[in-house]
């Protein structure tokens, strides 16, 4: 089976996206998922958004979902009912909201509004945060009970998440719990085992993840981009 590439946190950076695309061309990757945060307040995102919508010859077709930054922009531009970019306003103030509005041409809004919250492919859930919230930041240090809960809610064996920006893989590989239930019919006990599951942080920007659904192999990569020459990822 051919591999998937998963990336996130491009935040308008076309150079980063081009570097990843160039690298993917040389690998056995046939599906590209971009897990949100296509835009950000720090730079104009229009060129990147155009390339995502109209891939260049040789580009892998990107399958995009929206992330936290898109959610803020969509809310601020009235695509989320009464809600506005309250979370951004709280964390970054008016200046950050203005910068985000500045970064994206209104002409891209219809496309951004059409993006989904996540994908379910095979037995994998591909989300920006988690099913509870696009801003839910799961890391390698998140309590395993919480990770298991997020997996259970999605009814998925693998959860790929991007919100924290970290690259990690937590594999739940054993354990269980006893549950004693008493109701009007009496008492009964039940044992439940921890199912074998994984939560994978795909990274951000140049740091992306390769996944082979056939072998369940995960590889963390860093595109040899213009920023740092030394590789931080490993295979």
């Amino acid at each position: 089976m051919a591999m998937w590439a998963l990336l996130s946190g491009l935040r308008g950076d076309l150079t980063v996206y081009a570097a990843v695309q160039a690298e993917l061309r040389r690998q056995r990757v046939d599906t590209l998922f971009v897990l949100g945060d296509l835009i950000g307040p720090e730079r104009e995102a229009n060129a990147l958004l155009e390339r995502l919508q109209q891939p260049r010859r040789g580009d892998l077709q990107p399958h995009c979902i929206y992330g936290w930054w898109e959610e803020q922009l969509l809310a601020e531009r009235g695509f989320r009912g009464e809600r506005r970019a309250d979370a951004l306003r709280q964390s970054g103030g008016e200046a950050a909201v203005a910068a985000l509005l500045q970064a994206v041409d209104p002409g891209h809004m219809a496309w951004l509004a059409s993006l989904q919250f996540g994908f379910v492919e095979l037995d994998c859930a591909l989300l920006h945060g988690s099913s509870t919230d696009v801003g839910d930041s799961l890391t390698a240090d998140t309590a395993p009970l919480q990770l298991l809960d997020r997996l259970t809610r999605m009814e998925a064996n693998r959860l790929f998440t991007a919100r924290s920006g970290e690259q990690f893989c937590v594999e739940l590989c054993g354990g269980g719990i006893e549950s004693r239930l008493r109701d009007l019919e009496g008492e009964r006990q039940q044992h439940q085992s921890v199912p074998s599951r994984k939560v994978i942080g795909v990274g951000s920007g140049l740091h992306y993840t390769l996944y082979d659904p056939g072998s369940d192999h995960i590889a963390f990569r860093r595109a040899g981009g213009p920023i740092h020459a030394t590789g931080r990822g490993f295979v």
Binding site: P144, T152, E171, L172, E178, R180, R182, F220
Partner: protein
């Protein structure tokens, strides 16, 4: 000290009076109510006024919220369109009957109440509309209690009373990070805390397979929980339902104590609207 927890009164005055009488006779003077004071039943003002008069601390239930906020949940909470129409009829009837003062009281109710490590909610700590069913995934159930930083979570909304203890939980995990020198995978074993979910059942619209009202008593001395069944004058409420012009099915259901009548199809679904 003992402490009574009641839920889902659903405008059933006879049942509410019977349960409060049972609590009084046991000499218990601390009562907490988990919401759904109104809906389905024929005496919304009377039940709200009784709770107000007795100054019983209460959380806001799903029906209480819908009466204040307007019907906002989707058809997902009903098993059929007929059931949905009945629910909507009860909703509009209740909204028309309730006095402004009683509506203001329902609007003022908090989503949760806390006493030390005891947490009181209507559905779950996430939502008034989420069902914590007795056979829910044990890890997900534990997560609800743990995320709310409670030892015991008291809830209602399912109309079926139960006590569920979650213990001896452990999760084994293998962790891999992408750092400069990754080294070997880290393996860990995380012990999970012992936690408990107590569902108070329903005073006014029981769905446990019998007709009696249910509630629970928490005995603080030994931390035990007792599920109480209280028979009440079901006929009195059924006649009032019919006299009020509410769907006769609500009376039929109370009279028979049917377990499955009009239970939500997909109970794990939480309406996002």
């Amino acid at each position: 000290m003992a402490h009574a927890v009641i839920s889902c009164l659903h405008a059933n005055l006879a049942a509410t009076e019977a349960v409060l009488c049972d609590i009084d006779q046991l000499g218990i003077d601390t009562i907490t109510c988990l919401g759904d004071l109104v809906g389905y039943g024929p005496q919304p003002n009377e039940v709200v006024e009784l709770i107000r008069a007795r100054q019983i601390p209460s959380c806001q239930g799903c029906w209480d919220e819908d009466i204040i906020e307007g019907l906002n949940s989707c058809e997902c909470s009903y098993p059929s369109q007929l059931a949905e129409r009945r629910g909507q009829r009860a909703h509009h009837w209740t909204a028309a009957q309730l006095s402004e003062e009683n509506k203001a009281f329902l609007a003022s109710l908090p989503l949760s109440l806390r006493r030390d490590r005891l947490l009181f909610v209507h559905g779950s700590p996430n939502s008034q509309h989420e069902y914590l069913l007795p056979d829910m995934n044990a890890f997900a159930a534990l997560e609800r209690v743990e995320a709310a930083q409670a030892d015991t979570l008291f809830c209602g909304h399912t109309h079926r009373p139960y006590v569920r203890e979650l213990r001896e939980g452990v999760i084994k995990m293998r962790l891999r990070r992408a750092v400069a020198n990754p080294g070997p995978d880290i393996e860990r074993e995380v012990d999970l805390p012992v936690r408990r979910i107590v569902n108070a059942g329903s005073v006014g619209e029981p769905r446990h397979g019998g007709t009696s009202a249910t509630y629970v008593i928490h005995h603080e001395q030994d931390d035990s929980v007792e599920i109480r069944e209280v028979p009440y004058d079901v006929e009195r409420t059924c006649q009032a339902i019919v006299a009020a012009g509410l769907p006769p099915l609500f009376a039929w259901r109370l009279r028979h104590g049917f377990e499955y009548a009009e239970r939500a199809d997909d109970a794990s679904h939480v309406c996002e609207r």
